[in-house]
Symmetry: C2
């Protein structure tokens, strides 16, 4: 992991800053503050304490703590939702996707209520008391586990994104949605708890000739997918916990497969069966789907990891800069992620990818996890910007340009698009999704 | 941060384990597996694949992805809730607490729906469009900010616990609740997004004579509390985001104060006002409450950080070991936390604190954050265990014994109890909350 992005570095930002240090450090800045308007909040009212008495606060009892023993968002947040359109996936609401409002995202955790939901046969409801997981094939001791037995294995907790390989896949020929949520919201990130499959295999005994693992779900699509044993023995997990509670039904309650960094459809939900064998299965979902058509007419099979990727998150078409004042300092923020490792850096361009400056990685930087990046910008009213981000990972990859990507893959594929994205900020501060060829 | 607990170490557990390594490493274990029952799941059915065909799975469409655009837990998890009893706090449901089911917790994130909820005047509902934050007193440029203006400051995301200083405070004389949730569930942990107050003060200019900050909420209790400026300039935050979405109403929507590691009541919810001055305020909530009565009859004031603490989480009275078989390997898991820094180690005793063995810290180890620990134990049916945990932090503190703590604080206080806790496992595997004097 790159030193500048390390956790230690992140933590050292918190070192005790005593009062004397603070005043030495901020003397110059404070002078600016005294002289003129606030740098960040340029329209703020200065000391109009009368305002505080016009708002009818604190004049009655609030709700009892027993009102919602399982809490819900504020009614004022009713617009922050997963969303679906018939233009996404099949148009059948049971074999479709509801996407995450990443324009409203903060940090690296997606709350469970907003985690994107994709299914091929609808959201199954499995009774945890009837739940069984069968592990068989090339193992010394095949087994059928209840949920309680599965949970007795020593657990592990890891923070990873899950991304549909079709994230942005409508847009090979150019933007279809002037919306960050619809353009790039086929992904979310959470803290997962479960067991490494290698731990179970130490218990059951994997036969040396095993090369592939079939995973199958208990929904009506079954979602059979085959996984190479090397990935299984690396970091594959069987998970029952998401962000500190049981998986939600639409995430595969009570149990799903998690292959950190790999295509979301491989992370089979409502998991009922793992079978080990010498050959891959070539199931429906890895032949008729989830292959990528190249300009040669041939399709790529057996590709799994979501490649290094990034997008600007703020501003967005949904939350533009139309209220910003000239000269105001503003944070441009974005997300970067790689299914192959850890993000090592993100560059930001203001001219659609001709010139780049390095952005700052912020907060925790973890492998196969959303990584948030930031760049402080002084806004000039009237300027037109073409904001393009470009991420790098510790596997040695960097996002391709649009032309580099289409030269190899053409525009007929659906999956694994990771060419750079561009967001235009107009002279009025509106934001448009555009594609810059280069 | 201690090397063995570092993030790098945590990540290195994930290094590629190739198939050859795996088979070398597990050859001995696999032999055990082949010879007898599974180590972890000793009652599991071996290869009874008929079972898989008795369960009525996959025979109909599931729910459409559009059913819950804001998702909810499975109906089977209806028992995993915050809980309240009249025995907690005032008995008035508006000035009370609903506690977190930490016996069901996983990892270090508490989902927002289960985050403990404490209020002194009920849960206030503040319209974000009417929201105002006034910052005044000893600042060069006093200001009144709208929510939108506040959010324009550069943001920061940090994972921290919040703990009511009364966590376990009913139990100075001994256990009152044979329940982990009621005994130790006055705390939760989340990923918070907001702005460091030092960033705002760089903008506004803090006057050098400022020594104290008053924080006041807009609920009907106002919850006035005074904070030393050194803490404000260290890591105090104004937060609007929790686990990737807006704060919930019961957490102070739209804005609360966060003083990482310090008493929950100081993290003023529905925050409306910050004022800087040379002296503390001595508000109602820091004189009549939130002081600690000592055996001398004097009360301790101005104590803020929640001291180093820990508890066993699994097994618990709620989830006992009554189904475990003799000889089964089982993970004993717990939580440790310190408001003064980072957990450096946890010891576990099987005899109520006479002898200790070191437990393993697992997952992310972050400052002022829940840290999960683990110990693998071979269960002997019929043994009676007295499980006591003892945590240490990098500020140099270790949890006191019950006698050490009561010698200083007596048994008349309510707050800041961090003496070691003991959980008895009976010969039948039931779990009881007990107190061992030593």
């Amino acid at each position: 992991m790159n030193d500048k992005n390390s956790l230690e570095n992140s933590i050292s930002n918190d070192k005790i800053l005593d009062r004397r240090d603070f005043f030495r450090k901020t003397a110059a800045l404070s002078m600016t503050a005294i002289a003129g308007t606030s740098i960040f909040a340029s329209e703020a009212v200065v000391d109009d304490s009368a305002i505080m008495h016009h708002v009818p606060w604190g004049q009655k009892w609030g709700d009892p703590v027993t009102k919602n023993l399982y809490g819900m968002p504020s009614e004022y947040e009713h617009n922050v939702l997963r969303r679906n359109t018939e233009l996404l996936a099949s148009g059948n609401y049971r074999a479709s996707i509801a996407v995450t409002p990443i324009h409203e995202s903060m940090g690296i955790i997606t709350p469970n209520g907003l985690f994107f939901s994709r299914s091929h046969g609808g959201v199954a409801h499995v009774d945890p008391n009837e739940y069984r997981l069968m592990i068989h094939g090339l193992v010394e001791k095949p087994i059928v586990l209840t949920l309680e037995q599965l949970k007795r294995y020593p657990s592990v907790t890891r923070t990873h994104f899950i991304e549909c390989p079709a994230n942005g896949g409508q847009e090979w020929r150019g933007p279809q949605f002037n919306s960050l949520q619809f353009a790039k919201g086929f992904m979310s990130c959470a803290e997962w708890t479960g067991v490494y499959i290698k731990t179970i295999l130490e218990d059951l005994g994997l036969k040396p000739e095993a090369q592939w693992m079939l995973a199958e779900g208990s929904d009506n699509s079954e979602m059979g997918r085959t996984v190479p044993v090397d990935k299984v023995l690396d970091d594959a997990m069987i998970v029952w916990g998401q962000n500190g509670e049981a998986l939600r039904p639409e995430q595969g309650y009570p149990v799903r497969l998690l292959l950190p960094g790999w295509e979301g459809n491989l992370c089979v939900k409502w998991l009922k069966r793992l079978e080990f064998a010498t050959e891959p299965w070539y199931c429906k979902e890895e032949t008729s789907k989830y292959t990528a058509l190249k300009p040669t007419g041939q399709a790529v099979q057996h590709f799994y990891a979501n490649e290094v990727n990034s997008t600007v998150v703020s501003p967005s078409p949904e939350i533009p800069w139309t209220d910003l004042k000239n000269g105001q300092l503003i944070e441009i923020e974005g997300l970067a992620w790689s299914g192959m490792g850890t993000i090592t850096g993100v560059d930001l361009s203001f001219d659609g990818g001709k010139n780049y400056v390095p952005a700052k990685l912020k907060g925790l930087v973890l492998p196969k996890c959303w990584t948030r990046w930031s760049y402080m910008h002084t806004y000039k009213k009237g300027d037109v910007l073409l904001l393009t981000s470009r991420a790098m990972d510790d596997a040695g990859y960097i996002q391709p340009t649009v032309d580099q990507e289409t030269a190899v893959m053409g525009v007929e594929s659906v999956y694994h698009r990771n060419g750079v994205e561009t967001w235009e900020v107009t002279a009025e501060g509106k934001v448009n999704h555009v594609q810059i060829r280069s």
